[in-house]
């Protein structure tokens, strides 16, 4: 049996969570940026119509 070094098991689960939470953070940031762009575009267009 291979000697079970717990460092590799901990590293595997830590990397998994860093990637999963990192991707969620990426989605939240991108959503915030695009929502702000959308709102400013709506304001710009509605301002022009007036």
């Amino acid at each position: 049996m291979i000697e079970s070094n717990p460092a590799f098991i901990i590293a595997a689960y830590a990397v998994t969570w860093v990637v999963l939470l990192g991707y969620v953070l990426h989605l939240v940031r991108r959503n915030g940026r695009v929502s702000a762009e959308y709102e400013s575009m709506v304001l710009k267009i509605s301002g022009k119509k007036k």
Partner: protein, 219 residues
């Protein structure tokens, strides 16, 4: 939102169950516990790129913008899981094989798959014209996804250091439920990721459409 919470909750529960209940494996010892994250991540990669294939072909057939956006969302999520699969494989490979990386068929074909979809995302970032971007990326996505069966069959077709494909059918029953639960939990999370990324992509396209319309009115 609730889907994301459910997905993360399911991943926590499935990982806790698998870590706490699975016994040490005969050859791998407790290192076997890495399987519960590595194998489901690889399955999600395959599934996400299958979604890319279906919606890329559908886009080329129907030219519906939403098909292109869904394929792009699945490609980004698939590339994320693909990168995670490679990292976890390296972490498992070091104690199991004594090396972080070896150019065997499974590892090399998985890396090629990852690079194809990094290229796909780079292509989307570089092309400004929406129609051209959608057409080119649909072609790259459909051709790139053909690599998935090559990755899957690589351990059968060539002599590799990597073990044969893990599945519930080939596993000792002591590990089956843990693997299934982790795969289902990651599937829920992947569906949430793709849906959320698709919603953002639609909003981005709305901004692009409004900017185009505003520019037309301005001229």
């Amino acid at each position: 939102m609730w889907l994301g919470v459910a997905g993360f909750g399911a991943v926590i529960a499935a990982q806790a169950y698998a870590i706490l209940t699975s016994p040490a494996e005969r050859d791998m010892g407790h290192l076997q516990k890495i399987m519960y994250v590595h194998v489901p991540a690889a399955w999600m990669t395959f599934l996400a790129f299958f979604v890319v294939l279906v919606f890329s072909v559908r886009y080329l057939w129907r030219r519906n913008e939403n098909d292109d956006l869904l394929a792009a969302a699945a490609a980004e999520v698939g590339a994320t899981f693909n990168g995670l699969t490679l990292l976890l494989g390296m972490i498992w490979g070091r104690p199991a094989w004594g090396v972080w990386w070896v150019w065997d068929a499974r590892l090399t074909s998985t890396l090629v798959l990852f690079l194809i979809f990094v290229g796909y995302l780079a292509l989307r970032a570089l092309v400004d014209d929406a129609d051209q971007r959608a057409r080119w990326s649909a072609a790259v996505g459909a051709i790139g996804a053909i690599n998935v069966p090559i990755v899957y069959m690589s351990v059968t077709w060539w002599r590799t250091l990597h073990q044969p494909p893990s599945s519930a059918a080939t596993l000792d029953p002591a590990y089956t439920l843990g693997l299934r639960l982790n795969a289902i939990a990651l599937l829920v999370l992947m569906i949430y990721f793709i849906k959320k990324r698709y919603d953002i992509a639609r909003l981005e396209r709305s901004v692009e459409h409004m900017a185009e319309a505003a520019a037309m009115r301005g001229t």
